[in-house]
């Protein structure tokens, strides 16, 4: 039912087929992200129920239908504005480590707050699967989430799960499989801003486009620059090392421009 919302895309990869994929696990704090992680990777660590429990970035692997996945558990954050070290870590990973799929775990009992993060991630990448977790709790609280409609609204696959008992995980794994094999083409919903901002964004995008690697979403970079957040540019310049500039010189240069 859900997949009907997407165009069955042609298999684009003529190259030798890949079998190793990277998946980033993102989400707000305390949405059962660690439980999803454990459920997928089979790691049986006990997970307590309090926010901020995942201190270290956890990594795990699993295999499904001849594909091997590396799953990276990002710190739980409410946004990706790089306000804190956690937000910066999560943002940089989604942006620069270029995971094949970013799996965003949401809490069905307070979906609205979780959607903010989903929309922000959709600005960075279109390779996103949303997992609406804690369905059992939502049912207990008489909250109903229309998963199919959410998928249509967001333009990406959405799976309803209950990580504690494994409900929905077969579908989740199948969706991940189809995503990485290119069988699902997403049409992510874009947030549109007010007219003045949109004009600025498109102007900036034009200026930036030649400088950015093609995999980087120029609209998103433009938005960050509008907020005077230059850390992304800094990141790109350092990784390119066109003239082997030291980090210090780049930072000085940026400081100079900011004056």
């Amino acid at each position: 039912m859900i997949k009907a919302a997407f165009l069955p895309g042609p298999i684009k990869n003529p190259q030798p087929e890949r079998s190793n994929f990277l998946i980033a696990l993102a989400g707000n704090p305390n949405v059962g992200k660690s439980t999803v992680f454990n459920r997928l990777t089979g790691l049986n660590q006990h997970t307590g129920n309090w926010p901020g429990k995942t201190v270290l970035k956890a990594e795990g692997t699993f295999s499904y239908r001849n594909h091997h996945y590396k799953l990276v558990d990002l710190p739980g954050t409410y946004s990706l504005y790089a306000n804190s070290a956690d937000e910066q870590t999560a943002r940089d990973f989604i942006c620069f480590s270029r995971p094949d799929v970013t799996l965003v775990v949401c809490d069905a009992t307070c979906l609205e707050r979780n959607l903010n993060l989903v929309l922000q991630i959709l600005e960075i990448t279109d390779r996103v699967v949303v997992c609406v977790n804690l369905l059992d709790e939502a049912e207990r609280k008489l909250i109903h989430v229309n998963v199919e409609q959410l998928a249509t609204e967001l333009g990406i696959p959405v799976i309803g799960t209950t990580a504690r008992n494994g409900r929905g995980f077969l579908e989740l794994k199948n969706t991940l499989h189809d995503m990485v094999s290119g069988k699902i083409v997403t049409q992510p919903r874009q947030v549109t801003y007010d007219q003045e901002l949109e004009i600025l964004i498109s102007k900036l995008e034009n200026k930036l486009a030649p400088w950015l690697p093609e995999w980087l979403n120029s609209r998103w970079v433009a938005l960050r620059i509008l907020e005077r957040d230059y850390s992304i540019l800094e990141h790109i310049m350092i990784s390119r090392k066109p003239e082997k500039l030291s980090l210090q010189i780049i930072q000085e240069g940026i400081a100079l421009c900011l004056q």
């Binding site: 609280k141 909250i143 919903r189 801003y193 100079l256 421009c257």
Partner: protein
């Protein structure tokens, strides 16, 4: 600067004029657009959110975090858990000790039969095996009961409610409200507690949380406290009430620890780490039905066996070392006796003795082995005794001049002394600073010496 002139940085000069002046306003506009979209989508796909306010969770939260009932419920729960642990651990502990020390007899016979030299059977059996047996029999039962209970509370989602209740106190001490959570982690293991301080973003408040984490009585110290409280405080009343009294003593010690934590935090935030507490939003997660099977299996495997294994690994060499120290003679006295004699004056002022202080010093690698070393120290001083129960341990300690004041001072010093080796190493890794690590080590030690001196001297004056 010439290197920059032909660099992509020129791009920034190009776009700079395009940017409007007020960056913060732009952030607000971006954020509010995203919120609007999220609200719009959510209103279309989510139905019936109102039922929640009448739900059980909501009512439960109102009681658990209420102004008048929050603290009593917290203290009650803590006491209840301790009581279940203490009264439940007593019998299995004795059973284990009985079995393990019977085995010690067999092993000794075996060594004699194999014509092993006396020093070898001394190191292996009387040193290593005996301290292992003590660690297992004293630590395993309370841990096997305490950890699942604590994990149950954690799984239910009670810990954030505790943090919510305590937030005000911590803020008044100039610390971060989340310090309560790291403190709770410290009850399991101080090293884990120190690592968990990463959830605090502000460096100043994080340092405070790290420096005060050792005031949470960790799992390695619980068995010592429980054993001493049962022997000395429990026996002051009739048998029927002994475990209740022991529970109350241990519970109040934990309270003293929390209070110390608050006082030291307050002191630090007024002197070395000046500043105001930062604001944060603590989300109260929903109560979740705990998965009992998971809890029991996980808390036994991941925590109980893990901690026990760590204790065993450290206790074995420490036991051997203690035996060697206690059996190497220089002149007419052993090395152990020399050390004890050297520390004795200080120990006496603090209401204890030299052997107790050595036990704490040699127990640096892990707090779990303080009691076994202590016992071995006393045993090697000439008393031959079958140590197969708490009663026998009580007799041994009484023979060495212990009173309830000694026990109280040992318990207080166990609460307030240097953190264990693993914790000190973790603190160094987390702070990357020798100075803070040194402070984290010496501050509780100084406090412990001060407090035990005050307590023992006052007690001697009054009695």
């Amino acid at each position: 600067m010439s290197a920059i002139n032909n660099h992509p940085l020129l791009l920034l000069h190009g776009i700079e004029p395009l940017l409007p002046d007020n960056a913060s306003q732009i952030r607000d506009r971006i954020v509010s657009s995203i919120y609007q979209h999220a609200e719009e989508i959510s209103s279309q796909v989510v139905s019936n959110e109102k039922a929640w306010k009448n739900s059980l969770d909501f009512k439960l939260d109102n009681i658990l975090t209420s102004r008048w009932a929050g603290f009593p419920i917290m203290i009650l729960l803590l006491t209840l858990i301790l009581w279940i642990t203490i009264s439940g651990a007593n019998y299995p502990s004795q059973l284990l000790a009985l079995g393990l020390f019977k085995l010690e007899g067999y092993l000794l016979h075996l060594m004699t039969a194999a014509a092993a030299p006396a020093w070898l059977s001394g190191v292996l059996i009387l040193g290593m095996y005996r301290s292992l047996a003590w660690v297992v029999s004293v630590m395993l039962p309370p841990m096997a009961i305490f950890f699942p209970l604590f994990t149950l509370l954690e799984d239910l989602g009670y810990l954030p409610r505790v943090a919510f209740n305590m937030d005000n106190l911590f803020r008044r001490a100039g610390a971060h409200g989340k310090q309560c959570l790291t403190m709770c982690m410290g009850f399991g293991c101080n090293a884990a507690g120190v690592t968990s301080c990463r959830i605090i973003d502000s460096p100043r408040e994080r340092l405070i949380a790290i420096l005060t984490n050792t005031f949470s009585v960790c799992n390695g110290r619980f068995p010592t406290l429980i054993a001493l409280a049962t022997i000395f405080m429990g026996t002051m009343v009739s048998r029927a009430y002994s475990s209740i009294i022991a529970t109350l003593v241990v519970a109040s010690l934990i309270m003293v620890g929390i209070l110390t934590s608050l006082l030291v935090s307050s002191l630090l935030s007024r002197t070395l780490l000046r500043g105001i507490a930062s604001f944060f939003v603590l989300e109260l997660p929903p109560f979740r039905k705990p998965q009992l099977g998971q809890i029991i299996i996980r808390s036994l495997l991941d925590r109980t066996l893990f901690v026990l294994w760590r204790a065993v690994v450290i206790a074995a060499p420490a036991g051997a070392l203690t035996w060697i120290l206690a059996n190497s003679w220089i002149g007419d006295s052993t090395i152990f006796a020399y050390m004890a004699a050297f520390l004795d004056p200080l120990g006496k002022i603090m209401g204890m003795d030299g052997i107790i202080l050595i036990a704490f010093l040699l127990g640096l690698p892990a707090n779990e082995i303080v009691l076994p070393i202590l016992i071995m120290g006393y045993l090697s001083a000439g008393h031959i005794l079958e140590l197969d129960s708490l009663n026998a341990l009580g007799k041994l300690l009484l023979d060495h001049g212990w009173t309830w004041i000694t026990a109280l001072c040992v318990m207080l010093f166990s609460l307030l002394h240097f953190p264990c080796g693993t914790t000190i190493y973790t603190i160094f890794k987390e702070t990357k600073s020798m100075r803070w690590t040194l402070l984290a080590t010496l501050l509780p030690l100084a406090l412990g010496i001060l407090v035990t001196i005050i307590v023992s001297q006052t007690a001697q004056l009054l009695l």
